[in-house]
Amino acid sequence: MARYVAGRVLQAVLVVLGVTVITFVALHVVPGDVAQMIGGEKATPQQIAEIRRQLGLDDPLWVQYWRFLSSAVRGDFGISLQTRRPAVQEVLTAFPLTFELAVLALAVAGAVGVWLGIASATRAGGMAEGTAMLVTLVGTSAPVFWTGLLLLLLGGGVLRLFPIGGVLSSGVALDRITGIPLLDGLLTGNWPAVGDVLWHLVLPVVTLALLPTAVIARITRASMLEVLRNPYVQTARAKGASRARVIYRHALPNALLPVVTTIGLQFGTLLSGAILTETVFALPGLGRVAVNAILSRDYPVIEATVVLTAVVFTVINLAVDLSYGLLDPRQRQG
């Protein structure tokens, strides 16, 4: 087991290193003369040369990469060209909100998707199967930024049940500890704020959860049907185990293996969807930071966004793989 974990961790470190290489090449080398961009169009050749010297752009590429990597490891991606604050700070301020949205959506999708999948596998032709089909159809074809707008129109506009955007109502105070609004509310025992945050999160979370719910429901259904065909399920039934016990105790743990993998793979899609969802609901998350950085060619912030997101993404994939090892002992030998 230790060897398996060590191997997987090493692999993850290599992936992150590779991402820094790709980011470095893509954003440091390709875009052309950064010195010219910093100096502006009116800079004299002497000024440009001075900036180049200061930034170390005349050094060999591998020296530049090493400098990039060693500062990145210390969390230093340079100063945002736009706000003049550390680039990493820009990202870390925005990331918790995106993370909260993605995790909650995944939790909702996991619960609803697994339930829909089980129900449609064990009761063919029922309501659950119809619901699963509908969610699949809409979830996989409708753009998340369109369903978001429609939910906004329905829940915020027509029914007036939910706020039309933002994180907190004005007048509700919340101390920032982790930057994750829900967690901060819970940690400080600020219940009115927790309620308000949740109320603001309903529409974005439903929007974002739609696609992963569809995918998880389909995978769970297929996997459950497969597992229910096994002889040991027959044995459990022959022993007189109740329907619920057979489904949840005997069949489900094995049926969940592919589901866990799917949930892990969904995270990348989810992060992308979160960026689009944030834009619909005017949430100041990673999406806004990234889009602003690209529009203003703020390379330090783009680099920080890409590298930090890739690190989080890789860590999550690693966690999913390791949990897979816990769920299925056979994986540890492989």
Partner: protein, 304 residues
Amino acid sequence: MAEELFGWEAGAEPVPRPSPVLSAWRALTARRLHALGLVMVAGLVVVALVGPLLAPYNPIAQNLADQLQPPSARHWLGTDQFGRDILSRVLSGARLALLVGLLADAVALFFGSLLGLVAAFSRRWADAVVMRVVDMLLAFPYLLLAMVVIAILGTGLTPAVIAIGVVYVPQFARLVRSAALAVREEQYVEAARALGVSRTGIVLRHALPNVAPPAIAQATLLFGISILEVAGLGFLGLGAQPPTPEWGAMLADSRTYILTDWWLGAFPGLAIMISVLAFNLLGDAVRDAFDVGGTSRLAGDPRS
């Protein structure tokens, strides 16, 4: 225990075996869905070809006297904040959407297949290098990778198309490599090699025809998704720029008006959904026709 209690207990199969009539009906509806996909795609192609001719108004001409009109006999789908006819803009957007899907797909198919074939038919270390790079690219959430490409190329429809194409290169590379590796071990390929056929000859004459079916099936499945994702970049303001009648950019425009003038956003989004659905259904049909296996777009994540 009673069979009524366990619906799936009857017979050897845990799921009740559907009656012949029921299973025949299911097979038919499955094919019907495929047929529906084909018809929808054909309809989209027709709209893309003649849509701009059908458009009652110029899709980018502003008419401030007519701004924000709800759907009516004069403007079937209403007008936007500049008084532009939304029906005309949605129709013109169809041609863009299909071109975008085609080009993004072509970029992914070409470069992915190239990488996959090179990896499969070159030395071990070259194969390892190519595939590790592919793994790294897969480690990026797709939108982030697209953003990196746009950060280099700048915003616009063409960079957005290239970006989404690049996002799918790794998938094609993996798919084509594994198909090509299988071909490489075939006896007739060994025979060809023994006869002195060059490596390029083997790739072109033997590998390519064999990797084409799965690659084409995958490309069909990704067609609709490319449309969706390029529209997403347009929605973020990183893709098509105003006044281009691109569906994603139209939805971005509609954000300000969604609570008061719903028609601005409703129809471009519907157009995207119909196109994506059409190509998803067609993609499933093509996969079944080529019998190349893999999961249905509707059954799982294409990125998995």
